[in-house]
Amino acid sequence: MKITLNGADAQVDSPPLTPLLHVLREELGVLSAKAGCENGGCGACTVLIDGSPRRACLTAAIAADGSEVTTVEGLGTPEALSPVQKAFVHFCAAQCGFCTPGMVIAATAYLDKGGSGSREEITEALAGHVCRCTGYLKIVDAVAAAREGDFDMSVAAESPHTQVRA
């Protein structure tokens, strides 16, 4: 089996029914997709397969044969963050960071599909992704703002939900 992984060819030798998540992590050493439940329930392993978000833990290696697989490593690098990655940093939308790669992939796919960025649409698009830390609000705000682009990355975004009193 062969896949195109983040733009480069990769040979896959795992048995054909191995979950793609296992192929990525244990055979190919691509570690951003996380094994949060390995049962489709948390979304921490979501990757793009031919541009569409899919749970890597539910995808048989053979089902990805010949596909283009993109993990969050393929979206941007620390030096050149993708718009969604920038927004996640700027809005402090990651806390422990374990669900973040799956969230970033799902958010990227949602925006690439032309999502309007409304709160209703974003929560629907991300509703299968479990985050225990953030309460989702900063994630939704980050995705809503991601297309605006140029953030001052040395500071975090102001929150419209907060009032401070001395």
Binding site: P15, P19, H22, P53, R55, L58, A60
Partner: protein, 288 residues
């Protein structure tokens, strides 16, 4: 995920039926959402897996001229059903999240263990037929019989009289001896569909309970539910009282025997089933 498992890739429905044989020792890889984690986490090692992705079973055939039947292939991804008229569309939209719906298939959903069969109820309400293959080769039966049998057959497609809004259909048909006759089957064509489910907006937990309903051109009402037993069931006692939603709801609660699971108790399901029945009947605009 044993390395020894043989994976077959049939290229047509015929090849799929051939590969499946009598189904002994065979597992089906459809969308993978159930089989892949099961083999990975439980370590099962089936002799043979038949992967249906290229078997020509991914289709939604809405009725065209001369037809009144809609046909949906077992490999059709759930997300392709989301735009179908009620009750199929809203039931499909309640399954998992977009990523799951893009992978999961109609066949996988209908044949899945208890807790997953969201699409059973809408198709039971549509009085769908199931075409399957297995030890006695191909067979077409009511979906209700197919679900009741649970005898490990390969589901190929489901078909049902298409709702009016899907178009197609005619009132005359040609018999085998060449006569053109008036066909009264249009009286069973769905004129309205409705769906109601319990549960907060959800994406990563399963449906607690839902009711699907259909009203035909002829005024017949068919109701079905999932979440009240291991598989979806027709609510025939409720159907008989459809003109009286209160009575229909009460009858529905009497004719099911739901059990406790992590999502809700049998008591709660029985207690709220009448509400869903009433909601569906109201949407179907039957009764008072």
């Amino acid at each position: 995920m044993a390395a020894t498992t043989a994976v077959l890739f049939p290229c047509s429905p015929g090849e799929a039926i051939e590969a499946f044989g009598d189904g002994d020792g065979v597992r089906i890889l459809a969308g993978g959402t159930l089989l892949v984690p099961e083999l990975h986490l439980r370590g099962g090692a089936p002799e043979q897996v038949v992967a249906l992705s290229g078997a020509g079973l991914d289709f939604v055939k809405e009725p065209c001229d001369g037809e009144i039947m809609a046909r949906v292939g077992a490999m059709t991804p759930v997300d392709r059903l989301c735009t179908q008229p009620a009750p199929i569309g809203p039931a499909a939209r309640g399954i998992g999240d977009g990523e799951i719906r893009a992978a999961a298939t109609l066949g996988g959903n209908l044949c899945a263990p208890a807790g997953f069969g969201d699409l059973q109820a809408p198709l039971l309400a549509l009085d769908a037929s199931a075409r399957s293959a297995g030890s006695d080769r191909e067979r077409t039966e009511s979906l209700e019989d197919f679900l009741a049998a649970r005898d490990g057959r390969l589901l190929l497609e489901v078909s049902y009289v298409a709702p009016l809004e899907m178009g197609g259909g005619m009132h005359l048909r040609t018999t085998t001896d060449g006569r053109r006759v008036f066909d009264d089957s249009h009286y069973s064509r769905p004129a309205a569909g409705a769906f109601a489910s319990l549960g907060r907006p959800h994406a990563h937990h399963f449906t607690v309970m839902s009711v699907s309903g259909v009203r035909t051109v002829g005024g017949e009402v068919r109701l079905a539910a999932v979440g009240v037993g291991p598989v979806g069931v027709r609510l025939r006692a409720a159907e008989a009282l459809a003109h009286d939603p209160e009575a229909a709801g009460a009858a529905a609660a009497e004719e099911v025997n739901p059990s406790d699971d992590p999502l809700a108790s049998g008591w709660y399901r029985r207690r709220t089933l009448p509400s869903l029945v009433r909601r569906v009947l109201s949407e179907l605009e039957v009764g008072s």
